[in-house]
Symmetry: C2
Subunit: 292 residues, 2 copies
């Protein structure tokens, strides 16, 4: 199971209304990443589409598709040809009236391994995901790929330590977050930087708490009022940044050594000392209801 080192590539790119062109561009970038030695390639959230959740419009449901379905089938051949694992975030149509924000994993021989459905769904100005996506009902998932066991979470999930913890306890040594996060026009300058730092801090911390690597791919470019801030990154078990992108279309790559985590977790033995007997309250929504 331990393949060492593993080369992880994150593909961050802008998206247009032309879905076919988004998929072709991404497929070209997958080929480039493989030529550069990538083993695991992570696409950004909803990689084939513009970030349609920026507005509420039910025509966008027409873009959804089954998972597995046409897009996963299109990715199976490059995965097999290039011998790379592909992590692909998709707009899933489960049935009329139930749609999910879903991520599929395709192994390096082209086999579809399964999917994870985003558990935590945002709803904020410019991010109307509760309109489009039913919260996931598959729970947390790991996938045994050719290059090791990976855990998939999606964007908003990144703010919830519970999701990272459970996925890590299922044996994931790499936590992957396909993401679409952007600044609004009123959040320029220092505010935008403060948000981006918080976004990196919380994800880097999941690597610290869980003795894991973390890989987060975020899209770039402007879509209507949203300025996607890119800065896809790979971090290690100390929360240290191993590779980081900028604001442009880019392949962000780093080698990671999953086997090193055995020793890391005895040097920093947090899992030894957890107190599950004291964590029952985590299952509450809130514990201080004095305000009603």
């Amino acid at each position: 199971m331990t393949h060492s080192p593993v080369s992880v590539a994150l593909i961050q790119s802008p998206c247009s209304e032309d879905i076919e062109s988004n998929i072709e561009n991404t497929t070209n970038l997958i080929r480039q990443a493989a030529e550069q030695g990538a083993n695991i390639i992570v696409l950004q959230e909803l990689f084939a589409w513009p970030y349609f959740c920026r507005e509420i419009d039910d025509r966008y449901f027409d873009w959804a598709e089954p998972v597995p379905g046409p897009t996963t089938r299109r990715l199976e051949k490059p995965a097999a040809d290039l011998q790379v694992v592909i992590v692909a975030s998709l707009f899933e149509k489960r049935n009329p009236g139930i749609y999910h924000n879903t991520c599929a994993v395709i192994d390096a021989d082209g086999t579809y391994l399964g999917k994870y459905r985003k558990m935590h769904i945002p709803e904020d100005p410019g991010f109307h995901e509760k309109y489009y996506f039913t919260p996931g009902d598959l729970g947390y998932r790991t996938f045994d790929t050719r290059f090791g066991r990976i855990g998939i979470l999606i964007c908003w999930d990144q703010w919830f330590p519970e999701a990272a913890r459970i996925t890590a306890m299922m044996g994931a040594r790499l936590l992957i977050y396909p993401t679409a996060i952007a600044s609004l026009p009123e959040e320029a300058g220092e505010t935008a930087l403060r948000y981006r730092n918080a976004w990196q801090t919380i994800q880097r911390s999941h690597g610290v708490a869980n003795g894991c690597y973390v890989a987060s791919t975020n899209r770039v470019g402007n879509e209507s009022q949203l300025a996607f801030w890119g800065h896809s990154f790979i971090s290690g078990p100390f929360g240290e940044i191993l590779a980081e992108g900028g604001l442009d279309e880019q392949i962000v790559m780093s080698d990671i050594d999953l086997s090193s985590l055995d020793r890391h977790r005895t040097t920093w033995p947090f899992f030894r000392d957890r107190r599950p007997d004291s964590y029952n309250a985590i299952r509450s929504m809130w514990l201080d209801d004095e305000n009603g």
Copy 2:
């Protein structure tokens, strides 16, 4: 309940074998902090003693005392005189054979408000706490002080997002971590810096995940093989550092605005979107037992 702004002071200092002198020095620093306008003063972990856990020796049990007890009584008068909340980490003797790493909270009128017993206990080279301390059995605790509701956790607790989450859900708007963390001689230079960054990252992340302020006091100075790295800090709900100490004896201070967290938590509405229905597995020790 919301007093705004609140001035938080962290007292980081070296400790000697002379307990009386440690307490006197700390009391002088408490007076200085109060003169500078502090409302809440946080002492470092086991502030009255050298960090005796660096070695295993049962003579050190003689230093333990009841909580409340002689040291909390000594702190009640300065708290009342100076109108400051004092957070004091102590070596608690509960009865012969049961000792705890405990933190007492004294309100700004000198009232003893209660105690928290460290839940997560380390045991590593130079940190033999499992020899001295029975893990806490009081669960997580918050304290309604004159200046707002605070949550107390202690040192090793800082690596466990579960502890921060539960304490925040109990209504704490400021998470406080009295700490004694040090480098070993073989961890100099870049390794020490990587560790210190990880230590700050994980604590700053608790502020991000929970929309809280965080205050962490760490001792300074060398004790036998241990080089305590100081760098006590106060951070905000974006994980941003508001004040940070160096390697010397120092009072680290910042104003914080606890009332600002109401708006913060609707702008970044993570608590709205938690999925307690999916967190049951947090109560497991591990979820992937394929290795036996």
